[in-house]
């Protein structure tokens, strides 16, 4: 068990090592307890407009029961948090944010809601925010996740494609199920009312499903090229630098009115000063904080923000930020690990081929 965002969380379960657990999710199915994450509902006639003020996403045009990866930006266009927003209707959104950003996010929501609800924008109706305290959230992930879950429901999961969600009756419980996850595999994120969490987890953790911990979660997401807030994203990083420009709605790039828009447009127009890249490092794995140098080792051009020896690829993979110009795939750089420079190559992410269900 390790401390994580105010919770004591398991790196792994029982005698299953991190690598075995990782491989099990890549080849079969694993269940992650992500109940520490913050689940919220935003409701009200102007909820879509409110969330479009907090994020650069196109939420009005998003179809109901669809999810979007998004970013909550500060006034400078820096990322306060990354989040998944699921639209249920124009006036109801379900939002999952990071546990490690709970205090910052909730204070931000409170402050911005007050501004919104007391202003002209809310004349058609106020927005209410509800945190789903003590609700369970589990992620069933892996190529066998769908087949396993299908056994407990008459809902045709083949129709629930990547990025869609639905209320699904599983073993008698009606639960919010979103297809997706944080591993690069097919899977489901299932939200569970507090009184049902234990029963649902028992139902979802039978063979071949194995419980999987934070260790495997980190190595799986890194292979999938996904960011971990606090490592790869922070308030001094814009989504353009982070390679997340794709979360900005097409109709919002030019004219969208959202917090941080001016700085974001500057990065979009002039190009960002640095960019998030994937790296494959020779020799030793580069970890968070390792410095990236131009070949010859003289000029520091960036820093590694996450790095591991990849269990799937048997290569040392990392992500980090480099000065613009050094970000193109195939660029050779050097990374300092234990005072020795190791060769590294800028490599497109994801490092593994994702395996999402797109129908």
């Amino acid at each position: 068990m390790v401390p994580f965002a105010g919770y004591a969380m398991p790196l792994s379960y029982g005698s299953v090592g991190q690598v075995a657990s990782h491989n099990h999710v890549r080849t079969s199915a694993g269940l992650f307890d992500v109940g520490h994450m913050v689940q919220s509902n935003f409701r009200g006639v102007t909820a879509a407009a409110f969330l479009e003020w907090l994020t650069p996403s196109s939420l009005k045009s998003l179809s109901p029961y669809s999810s979007a990866l998004s970013v909550i930006l500060n006034e400078n266009g820096g990322i306060i948090d990354d989040t998944v927003i699921t639209k249920h209707s124009d006036d109801a959104f379900y939002v999952v944010t990071n546990a490690g950003r709970r205090d910052r996010d909730l204070a931000w929501f409170r402050q911005k809601l007050e501004e919104w609800n007391s202003g002209e924008q809310a004349k058609d109706g106020k927005v209410e925010h509800e945190v789903l305290e003590d609700w369970g959230l589990v992620a069933l992930q892996g190529p066998q996740a769908a087949e396993y879950l299908q056994k407990s429901t008459s809902f045709d999961l083949a129709k629930l494609t990547f990025g869609k969600s639905a209320y699904v009756t599983i073993g008698g419980f009606t639960l919010h199920v979103a297809r997706g996850g944080y591993t690069g595999e097919d899977g489901f994120e299932i939200s569970i009312p507090p009184s049902q969490t234990v029963d649902v987890v028992q139902l979802l953790s039978q063979s071949p499903v194995q419980l999987a911990g934070l260790g495997a979660r980190d190595s799986l997401r890194l292979e999938a090229g996904m960011c971990l807030y606090g490592n790869d994203l922070d308030e001094d990083t814009s989504p353009v630098e982070a390679g997340l420009s794709w979360v900005i709605g097409k109709d919002r790039k030019e004219s969208g009115n959202f917090i941080g828009a001016d700085s974001l447009r500057k990065h979009l127009k002039d190009g960002p000063p640095r960019r998030r890249v994937g790296l494959v490092v020779e020799g030793a794995p580069a970890r968070q904080g390792a410095q990236i140098f131009a070949p010859s080792g003289k000029d520091m051009i960036g820093k590694v923000t996450s790095g591991i020896p990849s269990p799937t690829l048997n290569k040392n993979i990392a992500m980090g930020y480099v000065l613009s110009g050094w970000h193109k795939k195939g660029t050779e750089v050097e990374v300092d690990v234990r005072n020795k420079l190791r060769k590294a190559v800028v490599t497109p992410m994801p490092f593994i081929k994702p395996n999402y269900w797109r129908g």
């Binding site: 790196l11 991190q18 690598v19 990782h22 020799g283 030793a284 794995p285 020896p309 269990p311």
Partner: protein
């Protein structure tokens, strides 16, 4: 049998190691003579098995260390022939989770490294203090062994 071992120990001219009776002592048969191997530990979870006949210490990580690291996937070893000072960083053991530096528990010259670990880093988990040894150091000053922890002392470190 135990008295036989004790008397065997007494007949050898022991270097002034100050081996407490409670230290972990084992005998290995080498061609023609017996040698005394003493294993001591560091706070950083390295172990060194010192052979007083050869003056060579075999450095490894402890079982406790391999357990907390999890599956070891990469081991970086020092260069053969390098001279290391006690406390110098001489390599690293990496699991997917984390990198853990290895510090020289004693000063001396690196005579040999366990090349098997390049292809089989998992040896460190399966057999940390035997097949998974890291390197052999010819001790510059065998009395450095005295400053290291005994098995009991190390156990206290792990339990605290």
């Amino acid at each position: 049998m135990f008295s036989a071992i004790r008397s065997a120990a007494r007949v050898r001219a022991l270097p002034p190691l100050g081996i407490a009776k409670t230290s972990f002592i084992s005998f290995r048969l080498a061609p023609g003579y017996r040698t005394l191997v003493t294993t001591r530990y560091t706070q950083e979870h390295e172990a060194v098995a010192f052979d007083d006949a050869t003056g060579v210490g075999t450095v490894s990580i402890t079982d406790h260390a391999q357990e907390s690291l999890g599956d070891v996937v990469f081991v970086e070893l020092p260069a053969i022939g390098s001279r290391v000072g006690k406390g110098d960083q001489i390599g690293a053991v990496e699991s997917v989770k984390a990198a853990s530096d290895i510090y020289a528990p004693v000063s001396g010259e690196v005579l040999e490294v366990n090349e098997r670990l390049n292809d089989e880093p998992g040896l460190l988990n399966r057999s940390p203090q035997n097949d998974g040894w890291l390197c052999k150091i010819k001790l510059a000053n065998p009395s450095e062994m005295e400053a290291l922890l005994t098995a009991e002392g190390y156990k206290e470190v792990c339990d605290s």
